[in-house]
């Protein structure tokens, strides 16, 4: 592969690729993201390749493993072009039918189509599926069309044309202006205006500067960066190189958490290919600009997602954030001006340069321009990654796109912003998504995690969960975070175990003040948010736990008891057999009774009692009813009428 030495070389090469690709050629795209691979997509891809070869169709049909299209609940996902037919939960056994019926016969395999769980309606085309219809997939949309290991796929879709434009049709100052005018705000957590951050570095008088990709995605429940980095690594590289040009940096780092081995592999591969093609290295496309990038793996510490901690880790140290008052875009990595941005932020850069800031600001709101990818997870029908314009309401995201709450349960809250964020209750579902709107409601955008909770979720337990998480991940350097969270974790644990006492809420509030105001870094200062927001909207749950020793959601193990309703039990003996503690006394035709002293609250009986009986109940805050007499327990079966 000869290096491309000019923008003209690039366009000629691109035309060449496109001339060899017939848009009418069938293409079978199978998602090869980590989620679908975990559901067996690897076998599906192999099965397709084998079947296509067997049928002698290799020259006429393209088969490729692609980036993640986001509909993770229904993986493995397969989309067949040019018709855009979308098949879900495809297994290796479905492959031969798909090839003969759809590829050869041009017919649809009905049973693999999307079925709306509420209406029963089937949808054939990907873009018409309710999950996708209401999204605006500017950033993640290309994933299903790209084999992440094939740079030519990226070029075929127009990749690196923004880079050529930035280098040859704009000055670095104009590139910076474009990003400023786009009002792009950081997509990783802080929501800081990207253009302003870049400008600070550009103006800093230092010959050596750095641009850094924060791919340490540590927020539990968030995996959009993983999908982008795995699925379309070149879009991040392109953004990074453009950023380097704008601020005058010739060296970049991509810090990827080691829990994402596929992302590490795909981005390293992309770098090699970009170097071969001449998009990295010396004299990029003949511009005279040099740029190189290295991948650094994280080693398992959430705190390294904090920008100063990340830079400290890049320097080969423990990820302790720095208590500095000079911003890292002026003095950052190795004390040089460093622009650190999130994966999704970088992925937006080529779009803005290619289509202009004016195009970008058409979407979203004034305070929050553009689109955002959210990971919609938890108690939601359609789990996965959704990209929507800022300003869409939470209600639309959860119900129109997410398909609402499964199993007929009631919505309770949606947690946004990861461990630094908060829970938003039902009365605020009309909230229009945006950085400032979420902050006002007591939460934050964070990296875009959106965890939906239903009536079975205990909000005190949610607060305890996040404080435990942060206690584990705290670097331990400063007293407020290390010691404050330590004490908060103890109190919350006691409350969920029925040992809460009067004064606990006030003490938690006092601790929250110190942790929020005096911690060294944002992990600490935002740590009280989950507690404060659940207290704000669900104070009654705290009081029930403390005063009545009752868990309204029937979730906290030490506060619930299991009881078999004698009116509903049919003595089927399923729970008696499954009970790991031998705590159920039953037998044929004898209504079952749980012996409370033996019961370990594992919940197995509750899980296995057949739904048509629904005899096992959870009780909290009141005494368990006395068992009925032995005589009453005997079931007299009616004889069958002939």
């Amino acid at each position: 592969m000869a290096r491309l030495n000019s923008p003209e070389d690039l366009e000629k090469f691109r035309k060449d690729i496109l001339s060899k690709r017939d848009p009418d050629t069938p293409c079978i795209s199978i998602c090869a993201g980590a989620g679908c691979l975990a559901s067996g997509a690897g076998d599906v891809i192999a099965a397709f390749k084998e079947e296509i070869e067997k049928q002698g169709l290799t020259a006429h049909v393209d088969t490729k493993g692609t980036g993640c299209p986001g509909f993770c609940e229904r993986g493995p996902v397969v989309v067949i072009y040019p018709e855009e037919i979308c098949y879900l939960q495809v297994g290796p056994d479905d492959v031969s039918e798909i090839v003969s019926k759809t590829i050869k016969g041009k017919q649809v395999v009905d049973r693999l189509l999307f079925v709306d769980p509420n209406t029963g309606e089937k949808t054939t085309r990907e873009s018409e599926i309710p999950f996708y219809k209401h999204q605006k997939r500017h950033v993640i949309g290309n994933n299903i069309r790209i084999d992440p290991k094939a740079i030519d796929d990226y070029l075929a879709l127009g990749g690196y044309s923004a880079l050529a434009k930035a280098f040859f049709q704009m000055t670095p100052e104009e590139v910076l202006e474009e990003i400023k005018n786009s009002n792009l705000r950081g997509r990783g957590g802080g929501g800081f205006p990207t253009g302003r951050k870049w400008e600070g570095s550009r103006n800093a008088p230092d010959k050596i500067k750095y641009v850094i990709v924060n791919a340490d995605e540590g927020d539990p429940g968030a995996f959009m960066d993983r999908a982008l980095l795995e699925g379309s690594p070149h879009s991040i590289l392109e953004g990074l190189i453009i950023g380097g040009l704008a601020i005058g940096a010739h060296e970049g780092y991509i810090y990827v958490r080691q829990e994402y081995p596929l992302a590490v592999e795909n981005v390293a591969h992309a770098i090699k290919q970009a170097e071969e093609y001449g998009f990295l290295g010396e004299n990029i496309l003949g511009s005279g600009f040099d740029f190189k990038v290295a991948v650094h793996k994280g080693a398992g510490a959430f705190v390294c997602g904090e920008s100063t901690a990340l830079m400290t880790a890049l320097e080969g140290r423990v990820g302790e954030p720095r208590p500095k008052y000079i911003r890292s875009n002026i003095k950052g990595l190795w004390n040089r001006p460093s622009v650190l941005n999130n994966v999704e932020t970088w992925a937006n850069v080529p779009l803005i340069i290619k289509k202009g800031a004016g195009w970008f600001t058409q979407f979203g709101t004034e305070g929050s321009a553009g689109t955002k990818i959210f990971s919609l997870v938890g108690k939601i029908t359609h789990t996965g990654l959704v990209e929507v314009p800022m300003g869409m309401t939470l209600k639309d995201i959860i119900y129109k796109i997410g398909g609402g709450i499964p199993d007929g349960k009631a919505f309770k809250a949606v947690q946004t912003g990861g461990p630094s964020g908060g829970c938003i209750p039902g009365e605020l579902l009309d909230l229009e998504i945006g950085f400032d709107e979420l902050a006002e409601a007591g939460s934050m955008m964070g990296s875009g995690g959106m965890i939906v909770m239903d009536e079975d979720t205990c909000m005190v337990d949610v607060a305890r969960y996040f404080v435990d998480f942060l206690t584990d991940e705290s670097c331990g350097k400063c007293v407020p975070c290390r010691e404050g969270l330590r004490q908060m974790a103890k109190i919350l644990k006691n409350i969920t175990e029925g040992k809460g006492k009067t004064g606990d809420i006030e003490l938690l509030e006092a601790l929250s003040e110190t942790v929020a105001e005096a911690s060294l870094c944002a992990l600490g200062t935002s740590a009280p948010n989950p507690f404060l927001s659940t207290l704000r909207y669900f104070r009654d749950e705290y009081e029930a736990h403390i005063k009545d020793k009752r868990c309204p959601a029937l979730s906290c193990r030490e506060l619930i008891a299991y009881h078999i309703d004698p009116d509903k039990c049919t003595a089927c003996m399923i729970c008696e057999r499954k009970c790991p503690a031998d705590a159920i006394s039953g037998g044929k035709n004898r209504i079952h009774v749980i012996e409370q002293e033996k019961c370990t609250n594992c919940g197995t009986c509750f899980e296995f009692c057949p739904p048509r009986f629904g005899a096992v109940k959870k009780i909290s805050g009141e005494p368990v009813p006395e068992p009925i007499s032995d005589e009453e327990r005997l079931i007299k079966r009616k004889s069958r009428e002939k």
């Binding site: 400063c478 003040e513 105001e517």
Partner: protein, 204 residues
């Protein structure tokens, strides 16, 4: 180097550029409590007890004075209801570890900190880091360091190095506010020093 004029607790202070708010305050006799600070060592910013309120461009925020640099027309308040409340809480959190530390007891009196607000914790190290930093920055021996993170963080002597260096040095011992350092040293010496005798004779 230019002169900076700022205001601390209503007092006008004139210092050269590059100085921290803590140093500026001390230069005019205003005392701000510290636990992890030492003139010979790089500022650490770990104990957070030196927090003060600064007002710049009409906005007010809490910063640690041991690191925050002076700026022209900066308005600083070293005491307020909020500052005192936070300092009291920091002390109470630390007293749960080291209730008998002289430094902590003195400060507790000033801020009304209750040593029994929190249940006693097992370890009496307060992680001021003075020992680790002194050995690294001044002695450059790195005989004692940190291990782990968060609530599992501890100081740890490196037996091979400590056996050689500490006997004749021990300059970090008087820095420790809680005597945890001395206890850790003696424990390491008796359990892990390379030579078998408990009175470790330094190797030549």
């Amino acid at each position: 180097m230019s002169e900076i004029l700022l205001q601390i607790d209503g007092k006008k202070v004139n210092v050269r550029e590059g100085v921290t708010v803590l140093e500026a305050a001390r230069s005019v006799g205003i005392s701000i409590p510290t636990l992890c600070h030492h003139e010979k060592l790089e500022p650490y910013g770990g104990c957070r007890i030196c927090i003060v309120e600064v007002e710049v461009s009409g906005r007010s925020r809490l910063v640690v004075s041991c690191i925050y640099p002076v700026a022209e027309n900066l308005v600083v308040k070293t005491r307020s209801e909020k500052i005192d409340r936070i300092r009291k809480m920091i002390l109470e959190l630390l007293l749960a570890h080291a209730p008998d530390s002289p430094e902590l007891k003195d400060l507790a009196k000033v801020y009304g900190a209750d040593r029994d607000r929190f249940e006693k914790e097992a370890s009496f190290c307060i992680h001021c880091g003075l020992c680790v930093r002194y050995c690294a920055e001044i002695k450059k021996k790195n005989a004692v360091g940190f291990i782990e993170r968060g609530i599992r963080k501890e100081i740890c002597f490196i037996p091979k190095i400590a056996a050689k260096e500490c006997w004749d040095c021990k300059e970090c011992f008087p820095l420790c506010p809680t005597s945890y350092l001395q206890a850790a040293y003696v424990l390491t010496q008796s359990l892990a020093f390379p030579s078998s005798s408990s009175e470790a004779v330094p190797e030549e």
